[in-house]
């Protein structure tokens, strides 16, 4: 079935103060932002689009905003956090910002994960920075009292983040690293295969975020096992809210989608795993 569009009538444009911006794993930073309106409304899997220059800066580059999954939200304290890594000009700009820098943010954006009420067995599968949306998702699952397992993949233990954070929500954690420096030596998708063996497909649900090749693997494993899976994709975005049409995602053959592309920022970033094609989408 095709993912449906959630009306985005609740998004807004806000100037948000940086509350903290700390390296939480090697090269990986957690930035907390004062954004009460977003914190109150954001759903797991939604993202924010950040102007990486300070709001009062007249620096032109980077020209466009940069999208980041909401990692954590604290409705009462009115903050959200994003987990980011320095890969280019936009994220390098983020690394410049001391506490109290004010950033202009649009959010919450996009369609998040569909949470099950059924007390199904749930696995969260994250590769690399794909762990970013997992804490807010884990918190939501925890609220609904559903127990769940998190499968965390990283290149090496030094680049691993989220274990403690996720355990706070009663998650069982299984870890895989490419170099075996923590947990299973190998791919997180191998952990997924084992996890699926342990559970009844009909009563199981998988949520995943990470690099496209990993998501593709998750999709094929799950569809083979007839397990319902949702994936959060990352693609280049021009606007983040549907006016540039710059973020196409190919529907899988046969998926009824009125012969058009999905737009990652409106129809996604979360899709049913077997609705989309997994071409590389980073520019």
């Amino acid at each position: 079935m095709a993912s449906k569009i959630v009306p985005t009538q609740t998004k807004g444009l806000y100037d948000c103060r940086v509350l903290s911006n700390d390296e939480v794993a090697r090269g990986i930073f957690l930035m907390r932002l004062h954004a009460p309106e977003i914190a109150a409304r954001v759903q797991p899997g939604q993202f924010v689009n950040i102007k990486t220059q300070p709001h009062d800066s007249d620096e032109i580059a980077p020209l466009l905003r940069r999208p980041f999954s909401v990692c954590q939200t604290d409705r009462n304290a009115g903050w959200i956090s994003i987990l980011w890594k320095n890969v280019g000009p936009g994220t390098r700009m983020l690394s410049r910002h001391p506490i109290d820098t004010v950033l202009n943010i649009i959010g919450p954006l996009g369609k998040g994960f569909e949470l099950t009420d059924e007390n199904a067995a749930v696995a969260l599968v994250a590769g690399g920075l794909g762990v970013a949306p997992m804490p807010i998702l884990a918190a939501a699952l925890h609220e609904r009292r559903s127990s769940f397992t998190v499968l965390l993949g990283a290149r090496t233990s030094a680049e691993l983040w989220g274990k403690e954070e996720l355990q706070r929500f009663g998650a069982q954690i299984r870890i895989a690293t490419d170099d075996g420096s923590a947990g299973h030596r190998g791919f997180v998708t191998e952990l997924l295969q084992n996890w699926i063996k342990e559970h009844d497909p009909i009563a199981s649900r998988v949520y995943s975020c990470g690099p496209m090749p990993m998501l593709e693997r998750v999709a094929s494993i799950c569809s083979a096992a007839k397990v319902r899976a949702e994936v959060a994709v990352e693609t280049v975005m021009g606007c983040g809210f549907g006016i540039c049409m710059g973020c196409p995602i190919q529907p899988r053959e046969g998926v009824e989608q009125f012969g058009r592309y999905y737009l990652a920022c409106l129809d996604g970033p979360v899709f049913c795993a077997d609705d989309i094609r997994y071409e590389s989408t980073s520019h």
Partner: protein
């Protein structure tokens, strides 16, 4: 009296700051971020006769102070536009101009004819940067004759504003503009995107799916200003200036070289409130300069030699 009020042909616009086609969707997507009623006019994403799915990924690449795009005129088609998009737009208090795209002149006619039956549209901006199948993919407005014929045929169909939108990828854009003027265009808008490209030196692939694409943003502003200046000197109809406008200062430059109105494009992606901010900035600028209206700015460039 509103100092920002402008007229194109007999029609009044509350202010001269429009949002450019393809950079504001169909209005709805930005409605809860920007105040639509603050816009001088909203110009829709190009509409064709049939829905088009557009080009595959990657469609965008950010360059130094610019943006390359190859959306491929993805659009819902004129019929679903009328059913799904027009009602919302009509309900807004914003002057509406529909941008029309085609691969043949017939397609432009088909779209305009369909839209003529419906209220709430002030005019048509004709996207003459589309590849013309009859001319081996040359953009419609790369040839004066084609521009003239296409303008004349649309002119016959409507009393609404007809505004050919011109490509900058020509030797003398003023000649193209004159051809449009001679066939009854009410105004011309320029510039559409420059042809540009970029390459990933690791994969050796083009950065966007169509190899070459449309170049926009602050980097093209000096070229846009020169083209608007050349055109405003050559025609007697209003020229709507487009290209790299991010703030009111940029807009003032376009008015000084002869633009009657401006359009904000790429900047909407960064801040959908850009047009509204420009309107406020222009108001203050006029006051500070003691100017009664935007007309006193238009073409005010001081070109007497110095030194």
């Amino acid at each position: 009296m509103n100092p920002l009020r402008i007229k194109i042909a007999r029609l009044e616009f509350p202010n001269p700051v429009f949002v450019a086609s393809g950079t504001f969707g169909y209005g709805q997507e930005a409605a809860d971020l920007a105040n639509l009623s603050a816009l001088g006019a909203l110009i829709t994403k190009s509409i064709g006769a049939q829905p088009r799915r557009g080009n595959p990924h990657p469609r965008l690449f950010e360059t130094t102070a610019g943006l390359l795009n190859s959306i491929g005129l993805q659009n819902v088609g004129v019929q679903s536009f009328i059913q799904e998009k027009l009602p919302f737009l009509r309900a807004q208090r914003v002057p509406l101009i529909v941008n029309v795209a085609g691969r043949t002149i017939d397609e432009y006619e088909e779209v305009v004819t369909a839209l003529e039956a419906h209220e709430g549209i002030l005019g048509y901006e004709l996207n003459f940067s589309c590849p013309n199948v009859k001319e081996g993919g040359l953009e419609f407005s790369q040839k004066a004759e084609v521009t003239a014929v296409a303008t004349a045929r649309i002119r016959k169909l409507t009393k609404r504003l007809v505004i050919p939108k011109l490509t900058p990828n020509v030797t003398r854009v003023s000649e193209i503009a004159r051809a449009a003027e001679s066939e009854g265009a009410d105004a011309v808008s320029l510039i559409n995107t420059l042809t540009g490209m970029a390459v990933d030196i690791e994969t050796w692939r083009p950065r966007i799916n169509t190899i070459v694409g449309g170049y926009s943003g602050p980097a093209i502003k000096p070229v846009a200003l020169a083209k608007v200046y050349e055109t405003a000197k050559a025609v007697n109809i209003p020229v709507i200036g487009i290209g790299g406008i991010r703030n009111w200062q940029d807009a003032v430059e376009f008015f000084l070289v002869g633009a009657s109105a401006v359009q904000v494009g790429t900047a909407n992606f960064v801040d959908p409130r850009t047009a509204e901010k420009i309107v406020n900035g222009l108001q203050e600028y006029l006051e500070r300069k003691g100017l009664a209206s935007i007309d006193e700015l238009r073409g005010g460039l001081r070109v007497e030699k110095r030194g």
